[in-house]
């Protein structure tokens, strides 16, 4: 009886190690052969590098170094991960979201814009009071003929659904084609609210203009080429 229990424990430990992608499976296969094994697959989280946590979950890169090793690299650092509650919350959220057949997420970057131009931003308001009210702008074009300031609040809304096998099953259950039994739809929408301020040569506000539902994507264009640009005439 004891022998059977010990054998079962050893078998479970071996299976867990094989599924984790390190240990035996990693020793048997190098990157030139690839993660081909009927007992599991080499997983980038156990043998990869640059491990980090984002809102997409725990991520790592397989890199181009050989994976022939008896234990994962950076073992001590990995044991200490995630290194903060923020990363832990992100990882947990991504894990739970990966199981959810329907999920929605919204992220904001920047200061939320008011629905209307603030009452303090009347024509003639000094530049200093504007900075005190709104903080530093995203773009500040300083010119002798009059300055321009641009404030921006970017947001991204994502929703997705899947029908079929949950995504985590792909790496947790070693059954051929099980990861393919799924249809997935993902929709992303990125947009930005913007506020543009015009100042005259004496740094008095001429006009404040709020963006009309205008959108932008942070990964396409930051839009900042001219922050604190020197006076064009002087630059020439």
């Amino acid at each position: 009886m004891k022998r059977a229990r010990a054998a079962l424990a050893v078998a479970l430990a071996a299976a867990a190690q094989a599924l984790s992608g390190c240990g035996l499976a990693t020793l048997m296969y190098d990157s030139t052969i690839g993660p081909i094994t009927p007992v599991g697959r080499i997983h980038e989280l156990t043998v990869g590098e640059d491990i980090h946590v984002s809102d997409a979950g725990v991520q790592a890169s397989l890199g181009d170094t050989p994976r022939l090793r008896p234990y994962p690299r950076d073992l001590l650092r990995r044991l200490a991960s995630p290194s903060s509650f923020w990363f832990a919350a992100q990882g947990l959220q991504a894990f739970l979201r990966s199981f959810a057949p329907l999920s929605s997420r919204e992220t904001h970057v920047g200061t939320p814009m008011p629905p209307d131009v603030p009452a303090e931003l009347q024509p003639g308001a000094p530049l200093a009071s504007t900075l005190a009210l709104l903080g530093p702008p995203d773009v500040w074009l300083r010119r002798k003929s009059g300055s321009l300031m641009l404030y921006r609040d970017a947001s991204k809304r994502t929703w997705s659904f899947y029908i079929g096998v949950p995504p985590p099953v792909t790496w947790a259950v070693p059954i051929p084609f099980i990861g393919s039994l799924r249809f997935r739809y993902i929709s992303e929408r990125a947009r930005a609210e913007k506020l543009m301020l015009f100042f005259d040569p004496s740094d008095a506000l001429i006009e404040a203009r709020l963006g009309v539902d205008s959108d932008v994507d942070s990964d396409v264009d930051t839009g900042v080429d001219s922050d604190l640009e020197p006076e064009p005439e002087a630059a020439r």
Partner: protein, 127 residues
């Protein structure tokens, strides 16, 4: 039971398929009636018409405002058995851009507009 069966059939029919659509920005600037005149229209007129720009570029000759909307669609079919046995992917990226350049005294020097990206599912999946 019937619903579960229907879901399973749909999953089987589209097994391994993923459709990812991303819309970046708003192409409202393409729909605004643009009645600008080179040498007369000012920077503030443009902002009045279509709002603040998405990007600002400065060159010694002109201050350039860029308005941009982008649509990206990615449809894929991947069959996995430890390795990707079959992998097919169709990607489509469309940009709509308006650029307006301003010279001295913030007067319009030039502007140009591209076409609006279409919401075309058949084109996205490669048909």
């Amino acid at each position: 039971m019937k619903r579960a069966l229907a879901a399973a059939l749909v999953a089987l029919l589209f097994a391994g398929c993923t459709y990812h659509a991303r819309q970046v920005g708003d192409d409202h600037f393409l729909n605004e009636p643009v009645s600008w005149t080179i040498g007369t229209t000012t920077l503030r007129d443009v902002v009045h018409d279509i709002g603040p720009p998405d990007a600002i570029r400065w060159t010694p000759k002109a201050l350039v405002f860029v308005y941009r909307a982008q649509r990206h669609a990615n449809s894929s079919l991947v069959l996995t058995a430890y390795l990707n046995i079959f992998s097919g992917e169709a990607q489509r990226e469309q940009d709509a851009t308006l650029v307006a350049g301003f010279g001295k005294d913030d007067v319009l020097l030039y502007y140009g507009v591209s076409d609006a990206p279409g919401d075309d599912l058949a084109g996205d999946v490669g048909f």
